[in-house]
Amino acid sequence: MTLIEYKNFYYRYKGNEEYALNNINLKIEDNKFILLCGETGSGKTTLIRCMNGLIPQFYSGFYRGSVEVAGKDTTITAIADLSTEVGIVFQNPENQLVAMNVEHEIAFGLENLGIESGEISKKIKEVTKITEIEHLLNKAPFELSGGEQQRVAIASILVLEPKIIVLDEPTALLDPYMAKKIIELLKEIQIEKQITILISEHRLDLILPYADELILMKDGNLIEHDNSNKIINGINFQTLRLNKPVIYSIFNQLKEEKLFNQYIPASISKVINYLKGL
């Protein structure tokens, strides 16, 4: 099932001469773990802002073509309506957390939807269990560490049960241990809830082992969208200057030396399986 569809979509921010997005055609399907990657300035954040109508409704600029979310036209559907389909978590959760304590923070979206309080409590219980923040319910968001804040931001999106959760560099401000935990948590959520999770992320070593699909962007163009094995082994991924994992560099080099002719492994366990199978 297609959740989001871009058709011949162009976008240019007001005051800029260059298009931030050039003729984007993209279909995002349900139940996938998708990694969005590209060099800085390639248009990743702009692409994400189109997914819940922030572009063109909130940011001023010029667009052509269309973006539909669950069949709704994002240029005219209220951002609040689109938010029940697509939940977006940005890099800095502090900007997104507004309530006095974590429980209210998570309840906020549900209250706005007019859901009755018994139901709200049930849902909060479930999402705080998944995100492992049950012990933080009475804390104020500013008392929390970066990793905890990011979990609260994810819980408050998850509780709205969107079909797709989009995260724009969710681990950028976290230390590596917490970053790894958050990415593992997102993969668990994706499998358990059978939703689509789309992440823009620079730490490819942490996320590639889990990605079903990759979207590659360059200079405002979507240059490739396919299953991750295929993309990792393609020329576009090879030439883009991304932070490629060490195991990619190792097997890419061995491929060039013609000692290796299979799919480059995306995880350490796949490396071991390959070597054991020789």
Binding site: S145, R241, N243, I250, I268, S269, L275, L278
Partner: protein, 292 residues
Amino acid sequence: MKDIEKQLPLILIDNVDFTYPNGTKALRNINLKIDNKELIGIMGKNGAGKTTLIRTLNGLIRPTNGAIYLYGENIASKSIATLSKKVGVIFQNPLHQLFSNSVKDEIEFSLKSFEFTKEEIQNKTNEILKEFNLEKYRNRSPLNLSGGEAKKLALASIICRDPDIIVFDEPTLGQDGREIEFLINLIKNKRKKGKTIIIVTHNIEFANEHIPRTILMADGLILADGPTEKVLGNQILVEKASLILPQTHQLNLALKKSGIQCPNDLFSKDKLINFIRDFIKNKTSEIVEGND
């Protein structure tokens, strides 16, 4: 203290504590010796005291206890301006240090605080804009630069003064491969010119591949100080500092666990490539022999 002065390390941090006015102990009993021309990494979880520590080096923060010596001289009585000539600190968020009307003004302003002639300022500005590929943005407001470019400008505005010690706070944060390559080349160049470089980072792979010595911090204390591959290879310490093992170390461990015979120190990309290359060659030659 006389003995220490005789050795004259470039930076000596002697029993330094720092407590914020609200009582938070950000640094506890820090002892550190950094020699001239060293490249050194400081790692640890958020709130471990890393940024506080580097702020003590140019006098932005003065220790509550203990002392810091630069070229053997106690810096307690030196002003931030004097220290900034020797120690250039590039902060994590470039927007905290950029405030001029144009990219060119930003560099010129940085140079004006030092004793350069007008002509020198102009020449240095042109040179640095070229070196950092910022010429095309010469007249643009720093606020209209992309995140990566703003980071570059913040870096250029410190590097142009040619400090002996360059301190980076999370230089790879949000940077793509191209920008990290630029940073690596810059570091190599500066080291050739005899500069000492200190890098606060969360980027384990970057540290493992490019930084020879690493200091691990947690709760205001130094947990470990030594060769990066060893420090980052200690799983218990690494977890205490909220890091994870570098992928090289993870792969080395996984190889051993799987029963594949391998050395215990495959801690760099090159060592792993060599090992896996030989492994594949051996296995494929076995098959050829088998066929014979």
